[in-house]
């Protein structure tokens, strides 16, 4: 795995929010490169801007200034609809609260991102089975989210995130709603996706234990990225 090739390149990104007449500086002049196949944890206290940075990398929000390139595409130059198409093919999302659609089964939830593609029904089925097998949930295909535990739901959510074989996986507090055993399970799975399948993973967490499972860590505090680049396994 060559981690010198940047898959994500962030240059001088600034993001502010307005609350009434008050301007809140969430991110200040952030520059960051994330290598192909890297597993990075963005750490920081609540309100440090880590989720905002993750949203910008994933094309969910727009930066005020600066540029963000993912896989060689400057996503700050894309329109809303272009971003939607780009996300569908390039980003897999793992959320804190799993965010599965409650009226769809595990199988259907994983299939959801594929209905935006040109894959045939048969091809979709193959992709869904493969993704569910990777997360070890192939025996829970017909279960609705309400019939699954938190850890199982998060594994289905991970299957949904990888089913389109995206360029990067972004995870926002993926273990924040799980007990320690389930969290361990999910982090092991993410580690496997990174090591065995070469997936680039950017994980936001405020939990040092979860952060230590990543291969690298960067700290954000009050919108500023610290210069220390920590190899969590060193």
């Amino acid at each position: 795995m060559n981690m010198n090739d940047s898959i994500v390149s962030i240059q001088n990104v600034t993001k502010t929010y307005k609350r009434g007449s008050e301007v809140i500086h969430v991110l200040e002049n952030i520059s960051l490169d994330i290598g192909q196949g890297e597993y990075l944890a963005l750490m920081g206290p609540s309100g440090s801007g880590k989720s905002t940075l993750l949203n910008l990398i994933a094309g969910l929000d727009q930066a005020d200034s600066g540029s963000i390139e993912v896989g060689g595409i400057d996503i700050t130059a894309l329109s809303e609809s272009e971003l939607a198409r780009w996300r569908a093919g390039n980003v897999g999302f793992i959320f804190q609260f799993y965010n599965l659609i409650p009226v769809l089964t595990a199988y259907e939830n994983v299939e959801l991102p594929l209905i935006l593609t040109s894959l045939s029904g048969h091809e979709r089925k193959e992709h869904v089975y493969t993704a569910l097998k990777v997360v070890n949930m192939e025996d829970r295909l017909r279960h609705y989210p309400s019939q699954l535990s938190g850890g199982q739901q998060q594994r289905v959510a991970i299957a949904r995130a990888i089913v389109t074989d995206p360029t990067i996986l972004v995870a926002d507090e993926p273990t924040g709603d799980l007990d320690r055993a389930s969290a361990e399970n999910v982090l092991e799975l993410m580690d496997r996706l990174n090591r065995d399948m070469g997936k680039t993973i950017i994980m936001v967490t405020h939990d040092p234990w979860a952060g230590n499972k990543a291969h690298n860590m960067r700290h954000l505090d009050k919108g500023v990225l610290s210069n220390d680049y920590q190899d969590s396994h060193s």
Binding site: L60, S81, R85, R87, I101, E108, L112, P113, I115
Partner: protein, 384 residues
């Protein structure tokens, strides 16, 4: 997959969806019934023929015209058949047992109205018997009459007990034909009047005129009225349709009120469905944010919401339309005396369907717009 999502979303809150669907069904049923009532009001107009004219006293329908006008009308170019009659205004047994009854010149009248289907044997029997009468099928069913029965009507305009024998029963050739009417020989009325009230005899309430071509109606009507200009009884001649519309115009305010009520019903169902959709979308803001996150566009989200709105509305609409038929039968049985022709037309069903689609689309537009405008980051913050 999309259809599955639409249907499952539509029934995510079963009770709410069932109540909304019930509301839509009742509203569509009410809308359909009100439209059928309006159609029933215009049934006479719909059944009128472009080949028939009506001549009456120009002052008012209550004033009569001399029988001697018949030959003069017949001599007008384009006139093919001249019949005549009087509104009798009698009732059977009790004043509540009221129905439309006319004294008519039988041969010409039946020639003018080929839409009345009568068995040849019964027709011959009617024409031969001076006291014979014809009744519509629905009227005979209402009172349990059969051919050969003696029927006594009590006159209101022409007082006394009037004896008849039911010689024939007519059926309509098409659904628009009123099957609740009662006809008897004008001569029977006139001869009785000659004996009892001679000053009223040899006068008719109206002339029914058959003409050669509908396009000649205006000129023939003008020619007839000109013939009797400056006479003691000037005439007003108009097409049968215009004559019928004159009766409808008397109830115009009621009709406008019914139309207003049906419009209000549409607004109510629109609000009911829109309310359901707004609540559903508000509850699912985070889900729509998730869908956007994984690549669904604003258009996809809008299609899902409008599709759900259409699903709920169409189910309600179909139930409403299906329920309109038995409801109309019950309604017709209850008020058949007032609405002899009470049929659900294709037009009414198409209107029901159009209203259903318009409501489904409109109710989904505002929540869809709201969901399309959700910023993903903001929507995701609503989770947890």
């Amino acid at each position: 997959m999309i259809i599955r999502i639409l249907i499952r979303n539509a029934f995510r809150h079963k009770l709410r969806s069932i109540l909304t669907i019930t509301g839509i069904a009742i509203a569509i049923l009410a809308y359909g019934l009100l439209h059928t009532v309006i159609d029933a009001w215009y049934a006479g107009v719909a059944a009128s023929s472009a080949n028939r004219l009506v001549t009456r006293n120009s002052i008012s329908l209550v004033f009569r015209l001399p029988l001697s006008y018949r030959e003069k009308i017949r001599s007008v170019d384009g006139v093919e058949i001249v019949s005549y009659g009087n509104w009798f205004g009698g009732y059977y047994r009790d004043e509540k047992d009221f129905f439309a009854n006319f004294a008519v010149e039988p041969v010409s009248y039946l020639n003018l109205y080929p839409e009345y289907k009568i068995a040849e044997r019964e027709k011959t029997s009617f024409l031969k018997n001076r006291k014979g009468c014809i009744a519509g099928k629905k009227l005979t069913e209402r009172f349990g009459w059969e051919v050969g029965d003696s029927i006594t009507l009590t006159g209101t305009i022409y007082p006394g007990k009037w004896e008849f024998v039911l010689s024939a029963v007519y059926k309509g050739k098409h659904k628009n034909v009123d099957e609740t009417m009662f006809f008897f020989h004008w001569d029977y009325l006139n001869e009785t009047l000659k004996k009892e009230r001679p000053f009223s005899a040899d006068n008719v309430g109206f002339y029914m005129i058959g003409i050669d071509k509908p396009e000649n109606a205006a000129s023939i009507a003008e020619a007839i009225d000109t013939t009797f200009k400056n006479s003691l009884a000037e005439t007003l001649t108009e097409t049968e349709k215009a004559f019928q519309l004159g009766f409808v115009a008397m109830s115009e305010t009621i009709l406008k009120a019914i139309q207003l009520v049906s419009f209000v019903i549409i607004v109510i169902i629109l609000v009911v469905v829109a309310n359901t959709m707004v609540m559903s979308v508000r509850e699912r803001t985070a889900e729509y944010a998730v869908l956007k996150t994984i690549g669904f566009s604003g258009g996809h989200i809008a299609a899902l919401i409008i599709g759900e709105s259409m699903t709920i509305t169409l189910i309600g609409g179909v139930f409403g339309i299906l329920a309109t038929y038995p409801a109309a039968t019950v309604f017709s049985n209850a008020v058949g005396d007032y609405f002899p022709v009470f049929n659900i037309t294709k037009g009414t069903i198409l209107m029901d369907a159009a209203v259903t689609v318009i409501v489904g689309l409109s109710a989904g537009v505002v929540p869809a717009w709201g969901a399309m405008s959700i910023r993903i980051a903001e929507g995701l913050r609503r989770i947890g």
